[in-house]
Structure formats: C-alpha cells, structure tokens
C-alpha cells in the first residue's frame, strides 16, 4: 500500500497533543478509578455535606459520599455509554448509507431527502422518543443516542460513496475491470475512511454531551447508577449550600468535550490543510517621492514599479521595476503568459492590489492622481474604469444588474436613481444589448457571459473614464463574442477619447486592437512593439517569438497548424 502524503505538516500539533492527553487521562480514570474509589464514592457515611478538606478534596454530598470519588467513578459509565452509542451510530449509519447508495436512483433520492429532514431534527428529540418507549435507563440512553446519531452518519456515508463513485480514479478502476469486492476494499473504503473517522470523532464528542444531557434532565441513567450528567443534576439542588459539588462533573464534562473537539479539529485540519494557511500581514509601502513635476502629457505615468508578495516575512518580488506611460486616447497592450506579472501591474496602476501585496514605485500617477497616496474615491471611480477577466463572477449574484451598473453614477456623481437608469439604458443600447430596461431587472446569472461583459463596458462608458483598464476581458468568451467586445473597446476610444490599458495573453488580439504593445515576462518588460512589427514578425526577443508562434497560424495549403513546439527551439 502506498502512503499518500497530502500534507507535509505533522499531525501532532499542539491542539492534537492536548486533545489526546486529555482523552488518555479520561480513559485511564475510567479504567482505574472504579477499582479503588468505589467504596468512597458509594458508601453512605455520617460525613454529610462537608466542605473541601485534604481528606475530601471536593467535599462530600448530602449522603456523606466523597464528591471527587463519585466524579472519577462516574467517568467510566459516561465513557462506556458514549462509546457504545457512537459505535451503534457508526455501524447503523454505515449500513444505511451504503444501502442507500446501492439503491436505485429514484429510491436513493427519496431516502436522501428523508435523511435531510431527519438530520435537521434535534437529536435530543429523537432520543426522547426512544426514552419514552423504552423507559429511562442507561441502556435506553445508549440506544436512544445511537439511533439518533444514525441519520447524520448515513447521509455523509451515502454522499461520500457517491463522491468516490464519481471520482476519476474510481471510474478508471471500474473501467479497467476491477472486481466489485476489490473495488470496495481498495477504492471505496480508503476513499471514505478519513472523513468518516473525523465524523466519528465529532459524533463521539456530541454523543458524550447529549448522553450527559439526557441523564441531566433525569431521562438517562437512573439511581442508584450515576454518570456525569446525573451527578451534575444532583449538584443543582445543592448549588446554594454546597456549590463545590457541581465543580467536579462540570469540569469533567468540559474536559471530555474539549478533548474530543481538539482531536476532531486537528484531524480535520490535517485532512484539509488549506484551513490553516499561514498568511502574513502586509502594507502598501509608499516610500515614493512625491509625484514629480513632469510636464509632459502622459495620462498614465509609471516609473520603477515594484510589487512584492509578503510571505513568511520574506518579500518575494513579483514585478521588477517597470516603466510605462499611456497617452490620452492611446490603447496600450501588455502581453505575456500567466504569471508574468501583467495583471499585477494593471491592478497596481488601478490602486487595487490585493491585501497581501506591497506596491512601490518612483512615480505612479493616473490623470494627475497619485495612486500611491489616497486620492479621492469619487475622482478615482470616474477616471478609471475596469473590465475584468471572468464576467461570470464580476457581479454579485444577490443583486439585479441595475443597481450594480449604476453604482458609480449614483454614489460618486450624484445622479438620482432615475437619471442613472436613463444613462445606463442608453449606454447598454450603445454596446448592442437588446431590451436594456428589462436587463436591469435581471440577475447576473440570467445573462450570458458576453452580455455581462458588454454590460460592464457600458457601465464604464456611462461614467466616461479617462482610462479603462481591461484585464483579459475576452479570455472567457467565445470567439464571435470576443470580436464584438473588442469592437466596443475601439468605439469607446473613438467616441470618448478613452485611453485603454489592455492586458492579454493572446498576442493576436492585442495586435488587432492596440497602438503599442509591451511584452512582459517574469515581472519585467522585455520588448516594446508596434502592431506593424508584430504582423511582419519583426521581433527581437526570443520570448516574443515564442508567443507569436503559439498563435494558431493559417498556412496556405496546409490548413490550420498549431506550431508551439517548434517555436521554442528557434
């Protein structure tokens, strides 16, 4: 058996250690205490309701029994009942879950829906039904919570089984003709074991609490037997006169619950390492000189832009001192493969770098706004429009298009609701969206990707920005839709004189649209080109040639040739 190592971190982190130590102590107590302390715990004596002393550390109760001894002895019954009930839930849940998974689709759907409802039921109420039938007692408590825990376990088992069946390795194994028994033992069970183990730990913890709850309200263990829950209940009557009596059972229940919880959390964190990701704090480092007194006409001026990712205290430089400028009305393209730093550059210029990045530059201005300082929001919103890559996620799913598209107009330009609506309807019409008024009442998911992207362009159109930053705006779209969207960009520049910073990995698209093209690689600009240079392939840097060669080329007579491998060798 190969051991899969999906996490390099040890499972023995502090939480796990504490949890295991706590549980070990409890188990030891449960084994040892009844051997030595049963007499002190059960024998009636004349030492009634004594205060704590060296002889009776937690005092005695109204019957002269030692409180500490009773708590330690009671731990055994509580743990035994919890273990049995948990085993019952796990066994029943596994059988039911697998049976449901094996059942025909129709039956499975119904069963899953029933389980869904059953899981929503408070387990204690299910347990009460059973306690009502079987009459209160320790055995009843075990059966009650064992049964009450089954639906939850069954549901998870059925869902996991489904997941494993749908997984690629399972389908592959099935396809290769692996027999059903081997399929179950080698693929099914190992695939489900880890999550089910975690669930069992959680179940143990909650069963312990619920069983004690049942005893606490008087429906679990009956006198003369006692467990932690019933001890806590006994202490309630004495809370005015002998509050120390409650301390033992309360602390013991908390220790058990916390111990089981810590183990469960540690197991879950180990299985899913993403939860404990260690991020470091970061801050925008504005060590720049004040925006210099350059009198040239550039709309965007970037000098020595450096972007650092701060991780584990050691900054990693992702963008290495870039210089660029964009004239009013100019369309500047940046091309490069993913990870070349082109999006980071664009978002830094927009002043929207992620929280864990630090942005530094000698100068970073857009329309006379110093992007390293904190320019007024209203001017920023009006001057810089942004169109993002994935139109599927750029709009919040919980609001209709109208309020989102008119956000800048209403918030920053003081337009009334009606004015903003009028403006956006006009803009939507311009980018070729049919029935614009109706679209405003629709949710983002009711529109197609191309429509959402055009709507985004329309919203920037309505505010008339000086600069539009387009970060891979056509990547997620079909080719025909791409062409239409590109046409909108060109119109935007022609009609409003908007400058555009166009980011793409597709050098063909960039060549079509842009006045100048910067080629970026590994955080640096390697070459600046004109569209003519690209179309006539007059490029000097080998990386640019690779990018060009990666574009499908139509060669006369030979059809469509994808020649990416050849290009790398040149």
């Amino acid at each position: 058996m190969s051991k899969t190592q999906h996490s390099t971190r040890s499972i023995w982190r502090p939480g796990m250690v504490i949890g295991v130590v706590l549980m070990a102590l409890l188990v030891l107590t449960a084994i040892i205490a009844p051997l030595f302390l049963t007499d002190a715990a059960n024998e009636l004596s004349e030492n009634r309701a004594l205060a704590p002393s060296s002889e009776h550390l937690l005092g005695t109760n109204d019957f002269g029994q030692d409180n500490l001894a009773r708590v330690l002895v009671a731990t055994r019954l509580t743990l035994v009942m919890t273990v049995l009930a948990t085993l019952l839930s796990v066994a029943g849940g596994l059988v039911a879950g697998v049976a449901i998974w094996l059942a025909p689709a129709k039956v499975r759907q119904w069963c899953l829906r029933l389980l869904e409802t059953a899981v929503a039921y408070p387990t204690l109420i299910t347990a009460l039904v059973i306690a009502a039938i079987l009459l209160p007692g320790a055995g009843t408590a075990v059966i009650a919570l064992g049964v009450a825990g089954m639906p939850g376990f069954a549901r998870v088992t059925a869902n996991l089984a489904q997941q494993v069946t749908n997984s690629e390795y399972f389908t592959t194994a099935k396809f290769l003709g692996v027999g059903p028994l081997r399929l179950a033992t080698r693929h099914m069970i190992p695939g489900m074991a880890e999550p089910l183990l975690i669930l069992s730990t959680t179940l143990f913890s909650s069963t312990l609490m619920e069983i004690s709850a049942l005893s606490f309200v008087g429906l679990g263990v009956q006198p003369p037997q006692y467990d932690l829950g019933s001890l806590l209940n006994d202490s309630l009557d004495a809370l005015y006169t002998q509050p120390i009596e409650a301390l033992g059972p309360a602390v013991m229940i908390i220790l058990a619950a916390v111990g089981a919880m810590l183990i469960g959390d540690a197991l879950a964190a180990h299985a899913n390492p993403r939860t404990g990701r260690a991020w470091r704090r970061s801050r925008r480092g504005a060590k720049s000189a004040p925006a210099n007194a350059q009198t040239d006409t550039a709309l965007v001026r970037v000098e020595d832009l450096r972007v650092n990712y701060l991780s584990q205290g050691q900054p990693t430089e992702l963008v290495h001192g870039i210089d660029l400028h964009i004239q009013p009305g100019e369309i500047l393209g940046i091309v490069g493969e993913s990870g070349s730093g082109k999006s980071l550059t664009a978002m830094s210029i927009a002043g929207l770098a992620a929280d864990d990045l630090s942005v530094q530059a000698r100068a970073l201005t857009v329309a006379q706004l110093d992007m390293l300082g904190s320019p007024p929001a209203a001017r920023l919103a009006q001057q810089i429009g942004i169109v993002y890559q994935d139109p599927g996620s750029t709009f919040t799913p919980s609001r209709t298009m109208g309020p989102q598209l008119t956000e800048v107009l209403r918030t920053h330009q003081g337009a009334s609701r009606a004015q903003a609506r009028e403006a956006i309807i006009q803009a939507l019409g311009k980018v070729g969206i049919t029935r614009p008024a109706a679209r405003l009442r629709q949710y983002p998911h009711e529109l197609s990707g191309g429509m959402r992207q055009r709507a985004m362009i329309a919203s920037t159109l309505a505010t008339g920005p000086a600069l539009l930053i387009a970060d891979e705006p056509t990547t997620a779209l079909d080719v025909t839709v791409q062409i239409e969207v590109l046409r909108q960009f060109r119109r935007l520049r022609e009609e409003y004189g908007t400058a555009i910073l166009f980011i793409s990995h597709d050098i063909g698209v960039v060549q079509e649209l842009c006045d100048r093209v910067l080629v970026m690689r590994k955080g640096s600009i390697v070459e600046e080109l004109s569209p003519q240079q690209i179309s006539s392939r007059q490029v000097s840097h080998p990386y640019t040639r690779q990018l060009l060669d990666a574009v499908p080329v139509l060669r006369t007579g030979s059809g469509l040739v994808l020649n990416e491998e050849e290009g790398i060798r040149t």
Partner: protein, 340 residues
C-alpha cells in the same frame, strides 16, 4: 465482467423529462409543490412514529403506561384512555382523526386536554427561542464579519487565534453546564436574576443566555469563514474598483451574500434549539414545551408525549421549509435545488 462506460443509459431520458417539466411549469410552483410534498411526507412519518410510541411499549402497553404499582382498575382505565382495547387499525384511525381535529385526548397528569396543556406551554418556549435566535444573529453575525474584516489577507493573526480559541471553547461547553454556571454566578452569587421560574421579565435572561451562547459561537464561526471567502470574490474587487466606501462594499456586496448561509444555518440552529430548550427549561424550571415533554416522559403521560413530540417534529420540519423558501426568495437560483 462487462465494462461499464461513464454514461448511464438512464441519464439521458431523465434529463429530457426534467427539462421538459421546467419548460412547461413555472419554477416557483414546481418548487413549492416539491417542498410541500416533502413536508406532507414528513408529517405522515411523524404521525406514524408518534402513534407507534404506545403500541411499541414493551409487554402490555397498558401496564407499562399505567406505571409501577398501578391497580387493575388503573390499568384498565389507562387501556381505555389510550384506546388500547380497540383493534390496531381503529386505534390508528382514531389517532389520525385526533391529530386533524386537534383532539388528542386528556393529559394523564394535569387532567386538562392535551391541546390546552400544550397551548399553555407554547408561548413560553416561543419566547425563549425567538429571543435567543434574535440575540444570536445580532451578536454572531457582526462578530463573525468583524473578525473576517480584521483578519482579511492574513492580517492580525492574534485576532484570528483569539477568535478561534474562544469560540471553539465556549461551543464545547454543553448548555446544561453553562446553565449551571450561569445560575451559580448570576442567580446565587450576584443575585441579579432569578434562578428559576417565569415570574418576572428578568427570569427570561438566564435561560435565553444558556440557549443562545453555543449557537452564537457557531454562527460567528461560519459567518467569519464565509465572509473571508466572499472578501476574495471578484465582485468584491469590482465593488472596490468602483471605489465604494468600505461600509458600502460590506453592507451591499458582502453581507447579502452571507445571508444565504447565515439564514440556512439560523433556521437549522433554531430547529436545534428546540432540543436545547428541553434541557435548559428543565434546569430553570421554565414552564415551556421542553420541560413539558420531560415531565410527561417521567410521569408516563402518553397522550402528552405523543402530542408534544408531534409538535416539536412539525416545528422542526416547517422551519426547514421556511429556510428553503427564504433562500429561494433571496437567490432564485435556489429554486432549482433538489429538482433532480
């Protein structure tokens, strides 16, 4: 052994039928029909289960129901009261009719009708549950969202650890231990609130706190995790790109997207609180439905047991349905959930 392909032959026709159905019927009516169907099914199961509580009693149900040391007359009167002298199906029919006419017999313990006994207790439980759920949302949601904002992008690791440690510890403390502690500190030592009963408005404070504190930690943790995820979403970046104020971004773009999860969870936690009230009401001697069911089980008051469990079960089912409907109202995409 036959090699099984990836495509399931049953899949094709089913998909076509589903799409046909969707084209011909309005999504809301299909959704409500489906959900109401589920509700009716749950009720049927509940009625059957609660009915079976008595026939399933070990041995002679009448003897068990009448309790230890009952005289022959007492046993026989119990038998008549529970209808155990009649044929099985007649008993069931009588029970079903009783459920629909809200006539579920007389409570053994109080002598009044079961309906009256429960109606007298219901307001007390409703008071605690509604107050607890409101406090839970009012405290838990801002707490979770605030932590997410404080620690976004990995800042302030100490706040993260503090929040995790405190919420998971408090959540691990069961409500009855919490209740005992609350009584000791606030009723006995400080004397601020009464330890039991429902005499004054102050009596509400401790039971509500005991019911609410655990679920508040749950909701705060979930809200925090969800909010952290939402803060990394593209649409939040879009909203920041529109240079909206932090308040505006959080209230219009982050919070609404949290509501789906929060409300789902709140509804389920409210259903879970029905169990919590059972324990807490018993500790505080609060005269609600939860204490009623415990007393009924101890005194073997079967008509009362049946009716109370039926009621609690129905409440839990209806809560789940209400959550689903709210979800569909907030985000119409949920209309299709569970359609296949």
């Amino acid at each position: 052994m036959t090699t099984v392909g990836v495509t399931d032959p049953q899949l094709e026709p089913r998909r076509t039928r589903a799409s046909l159905r969707q084209r011909t019927s309005h999504p809301w009516s299909a959704f409500l029909l489906r959900r109401l169907g589920g509700l009716v099914l749950s009720f049927v199961i509940l009625v059957i289960v609660t009915f079976l509580i008595v026939p399933l009693l070990p041995g002679d149900p009448a003897v068990v129901a009448a309790g230890d040391g009952a005289t022959v007359e007492q046993i026989e009167s119990t038998r008549t009261a529970l209808g155990l002298d009649q044929p099985f199906l007649a008993q069931f029919w009588q029970y079903v009719v009783g459920v629909f006419t809200l006539d579920m017999g007389d409570s053994f313990a109080s002598g009044t009708t079961v309906t009256a006994a429960i109606l007298a207790r219901l307001p007390f439980t409703a008071e605690i549950a509604l107050l607890a759920i409101s406090c839970m949302l009012v405290i838990g949601v801002p707490l979770g969202m605030g932590t997410a904002l404080l620690t976004r992008g990995g800042r302030r690791a100490w706040a993260d650890h503090l929040f995790n440690g405190i919420t998971s510890f408090i959540f691990a403390v069961p409500n009855y231990v919490l209740a005992t502690l609350l009584i000791f500190v606030f009723a006995i030592r400080l004397g601020w609130f009464p330890a039991s009963g429902a005499a004054t408005l102050g009596s509400l404070v401790l039971p509500t706190a005991a019911v609410m504190i655990g679920p508040t930690c749950v909701i705060a943790r979930i809200v925090r995790r969800e909010a952290a995820g939402i803060l990394e979403q593209d649409y939040v970046r879009t909203a920041r790109g529109w240079r909206l104020s932090t308040w505006h971004v959080n209230s219009r773009y982050v919070l609404p997207n949290l509501l789906t999860t929060t409300l789902t969870l709140a509804g389920l936690l409210l259903a879970g609180m029905l169990g919590g009230t059972v324990v807490v009401e018993t500790v505080f001697g609060w005269p609600g439905v939860g204490k009623g069911i415990v007393d009924a089980i101890i005194s073997r008051d079967y008509p009362m047991i049946r009716a109370t469990i039926l009621l609690l079960g129905m409440l839990a089912t209806v809560l789940v349905l209400v959550v689903d409907i709210i979800l569909a109202l907030i985000d119409p995409r949920n209309l299709k959930a569970g359609a296949e």
